[in-house]
């Protein structure tokens, strides 16, 4: 007959500790590693928009980012942005330039696509649609979620690259062409992968699809 042995108090504590450690390790590895876990996905069928013609939907790893475009402020820039979206040229475009809690940048069609990422030339690619004249507004304030066309150090060099601000940046007022503003999905953008101390990101996150909103 086997005699049952009662665990001592210290053995119980050790056992409980090991179980807790295993649970912690499991959750850390499978749950907390998922950066999208606590981010709202933005179900399009449940959202209503005042100007549905000017709504663009950017799908990234963690869900949909909804952007309202401002053709009244920058008509040419928004027209170009819509063409790039409708021709699906932003699909696969990487967020190769990320300044933590400040801005994220994507849209290099030529060298910044996830399927053709060229770090030696990134940021200098063109869309093939030509350069745009800057449409600057001294009244437009770049707040959290503002979307603007990127350019070189010279004005009138906008093409396809765009940035989204993650905080208010007053110094950008009158410096960059505004395109629109993120109205849903800022939390999603904050999960976009950052560089390790650098502004350029290795193995960056990218845009799955970028489409104009379809409404009935």
């Amino acid at each position: 007959m086997i005699k049952s042995i009662k665990a001592s108090k210290s053995e119980k504590i050790l056992f409980t500790f090991l179980i807790s450690l295993a649970i912690f390790a499991f959750t850390s590895f499978f749950l907390l590693k998922n950066k999208c876990l606590f981010v709202e996905k933005n179900n399009l069928s449940k959202l209503k928009f005042n100007k549905p013609n000017n709504i663009a939907v950017m799908n990234v790893e963690c869900g949909n980012v909804i952007i309202e475009l401002y053709p009244d402020i920058s008509p040419k820039a928004v027209e170009r942005f819509k063409i790039l979206i409708e021709q699906k040229m932003y699909d696969g475009s990487t967020f190769y330039k990320v300044s933590e809690n400040t801005f994220i940048q994507a849209g290099d069609i030529e060298y910044g696509n996830i399927n053709n990422l060229d770090y030696s030339k990134i940021g200098s690619g063109v869309s093939g649609l030509g350069l745009l004249k800057s449409e600057l507004s001294n009244d437009f304030i770049f707040v959290e979620g503002s979307v603007g066309f990127a350019r070189t150090t010279d004005f009138d060099t906008e093409d396809s690259e765009f940035f989204i601000t993650l905080k208010e940046i007053p110094i950008y007022q009158g410096e960059y062409t505004p395109i629109g503003k993120v109205i849903y999905g800022l939390d999603i953008l904050k999960t976009i992968k950052k560089g390790n101390k650098a502004i350029y990101v290795l193995r960056p996150d990218y845009i799955n699809t970028f489409r104009m909103f379809k409404f009935n």
């Binding site: 400040t102 030696s120 150090t153 010279d154 940046i169 110094i171 650098a198 290795l202």
Partner: protein, 242 residues
Amino acid sequence: MKILILFILIFHISHVNAGEIYNLIKIPNLEIYKLKNDNNIRYLSAKGNFKIGVNKNVTCDKVNINNLNSKFPLIEKNLNLYNSNFLNKIKLKYIVFCENLFISEINTGGIPDNKNRTLILDINFNQKYFERMIHHEIFHMIQNSYRKVFDENEFSSFNEDSFNYAECSTCSDRLNLDLYENTDGFLTEYSKSIPSEDMAEIFSFLMVNQNIINEKIKNDKILSNKVNFIKYSLAKIDKNIL
């Protein structure tokens, strides 16, 4: 090769504060000092030391904020002499304040950069010449934007035939900024270095103390021609500056 370029790119950028201001004017470690001004100029200050330029040959140290606060009213007063339309034309929007500014290990008061619409100023520059230095550097921005208007050959032709400028502004020992008693065609020793410095010296005196110039040109035909050239050329850009 691409991996090497990527490594270099990341290594270099990882050591700078690559925030929103860096993204705009390519100078790291800056913060806003004063943003809203009547002539739309924006003042930035170095919150940390920085190195920029080819081979990082431009270096400057962070500002002591009390030092800057004490000198800012004088700087602002001088920059308020320029209207926003004129500043747009000469591509000047950002003034960067720092201390101990060096270019290729040569101490300097200011460095103009038309491409980034920026003028870097060393707030510790000799106070005796500080106001003039501001306008002197601004003239370089004017000339950079209007090379044909401020033609150096035409300007040089006012000198006596026997006079020759140096090859470059720092490759001569003509560096003194004090006003000559007897001008003889040149306001300062530094005016004799190269034509653009000569023009910049005249412009700086015109902005700070026109009376001195008016007095000097009475008996100096060469200087008088040069001053008229600067005034006439400047009027082509903006009639209200002088």
